[in-house]
Amino acid sequence: MTGLRATLAYVLRQPSGAVGLVLVAVHLLIALAAPFIIPYDAATQNAAAILEPPSLTHLFGTDRLGRDVFSRTLLGGREAMLISTLSAICAMAWGSLLGIVVALAGGLLDAAVMRVVDAMVAIPWILLVMLFVAALGSSTAALIPLLGFSYGLSVVYLARSAALDFVARDFVLAAQVRGESRWTIAVKELSPNIRDSLAVQGAMQWSWIFLAVSSLSFLGMGVAPPTPDWGQMIADARGIMRTAPWTVVWPMVFLSSLIIGVNLAVDAWAKALGIERLGRTPQS
């Protein structure tokens, strides 16, 4: 296992990795700095400036309510990023814990848990999440545990198979013979070995959750107005894209470049660590 600096250098040496990392860095910077650099309040409507094309006063033009598209676009990723980050942490925490535990325990517990997880994966979670949102109203607080739970299911598979690669190795057997507790073995022997693949998986989960949040916002069930969000902006502007394409193009550019950037960077990172990158999980 190489150090962080060496890994970073490897990622930057690959053209796609460098592009991805730069895209992610730019997006992070924009998301953090947005509240200080936006020229207009994102929610303020201006009846005198409806659907204005891009100009020096409104860099990206204005939308159908006269709101400044530039300000809204800069702010539009923040809420979804926050939700994705918290949900991904939640998913990784319970998913990898359960995966490692069943891998170590084996036998009946392993079989029973995995059978239940198999069934859970077959359920279209987007429908259940939508249902909960419809019942509880769209709120960040409700989305995080829901997404964290449903996206943790695939983490269970990954953590389990990653841990299974090591449970039969000599150093784990040695620890068992020494009489170490299961907890110590999980923390001291297994975790350092599967940390890398879990970290890569966590970054992937983040991007899939981000897609899910944006899609929910697009359907009107994710980030609620007045907080601006790219998915919500695209849904809002779809009806008028024939006459005012600038209202829909910019959120699309920002959303796509963030997701592509994350994926390029994660691909290069996985390659640097020598890990097979995993595909998009079924339920996303």
């Binding site: 249902l131 019942a135 779809r238 079924p282």
Partner: protein
């Protein structure tokens, strides 16, 4: 062989039972029930009691579950709250439309993906591979609602070739439905094709490194024959079971894509049902999606077992 298939089918059956329990229990954990959701603010006092009695919600959960599951086994999916019609009636045509959409997407996506994957794998790290793999990465990462909006922007708004949204009714004849499904299917097949292409490519690269390909080379088999007789068939085998998994993905995408294109299928019905807080309908659709996923996976696994004798020695 037969034993393996029976075991696989039994585990699918078990999965189906678990799915029905989860779909049922998911709603039990929610605050309120089908009646409070449907009635909204009016849901109190006698009205609520009447609704609960009508829907049989006053019975204990276990009894309601057996009732619900028994109805499903008889082919009855319950009654929609909003539409006040049997769900089977509402769902039937739309299920056909969604199947048409998925079939068109699979017909576009899978052959394209297999072809591109083989070529990219054979020419690893050359220009074609880099272009195809790069495109695949973009195609599989961009959310469906963005690519759909982009396609509408280019083909409907820009070029004026097609209508942006589907305007035909949900009972339209099959042929009209197929042509209406084209643009939505392109969006769905992009994600599908990108994922399968990456799998095929990786699999081709794996097989090229195998001993039997080296053996064929050493005994002087011509390159074309190595590729078409040895590499391609062997690299497609592992992909078969992956195709089953991507169906789940297709189903998730269907919800979004149908809403964007206003396509009259199950996915849009699901969004409408959620909007109407029609819990029995959402429950039924979630169950249908789960069944589709399990059945497709069972079929692809059996196909893989039939086509690939090596899998038969492993315990399922």
């Amino acid at each position: 062989m037969l034993g393996l298939i029976v075991r696989r089918a039994a585990s699918s059956l078990f999965t189906l039972i678990l799915i029905s329990v989860v779909v049922f229990a998911g709603l039990e954990f929610m605050p309120g029930d089908a009646c409070t959701a449907h009635l909204g603010r009016d849901g109190k006092g006698a009205v609520l009691e009447a609704c609960r009695a009508r829907m049989g919600l006053d019975a204990p959960p276990v009894k309601r579950f057996t009732q619900w599951a028994g109805d499903i086994l008889r082919g009855e999916l319950g009654t929609s709250m909003q539409r006040e019609k049997p769900i089977t009636e509402i769902v039937g045509w739309r299920l056909r439309n969604t199947l048409v959409l998925s079939a068109v997407a699979a017909l576009i996506g899978i052959p394209l993906a297999v072809l591109l994957g083989i070529i990219a794998g054979l020419r690893r790290d050359r220009l074609f591979d880099m272009a195809a793999s790069g495109t695949a990465l973009v195609a599989m990462t961009i959310p469906e609602f963005v690519s759909a909006t982009l396609l509408i922007l280019v083909f409907a708004v820009g070029l004026g070739w097609t209508a942006g949204v589907v305007t035909i009714g949900y009972k339209a004849p099959l042929l009209e439905m197929v042509s209406a499904a084209f643009l939505p299917a392109v969006v769905l097949s992009m994600v599908l094709a990108a994922h399968i292409m990456r799998m095929v490519r990786a699999s081709v690269i794996d097989v090229l490194k195998s001993d039997f390909v080296l053996m064929a080379r050493l005994k002087g088999v011509p390159q074309q024959q190595i590729i078409w007789r040895h590499v391609v068939p062997n690299s497609l085998l592992p992909v078969i079971s992956v195709i089953g998994l991507t169906v789940a993905w297709l189903l998730g995408g269907v919800v979004i894509v149908e809403s964007v294109f206003n396509y009259p299928g199950l996915g849009r019905l699901a969004v409408d049902a959620v909007g109407d807080r029609d819990l029995p309908l959402v429950q039924a659709i979630a169950l249908l999606f789960g069944i589709t996923y399990v059945v497709t996976n069972l079929m692809t696994d059996i196909a893989a077992l039939l086509l690939n004798p090596r899998l038969r020695t492993y315990r399922a």
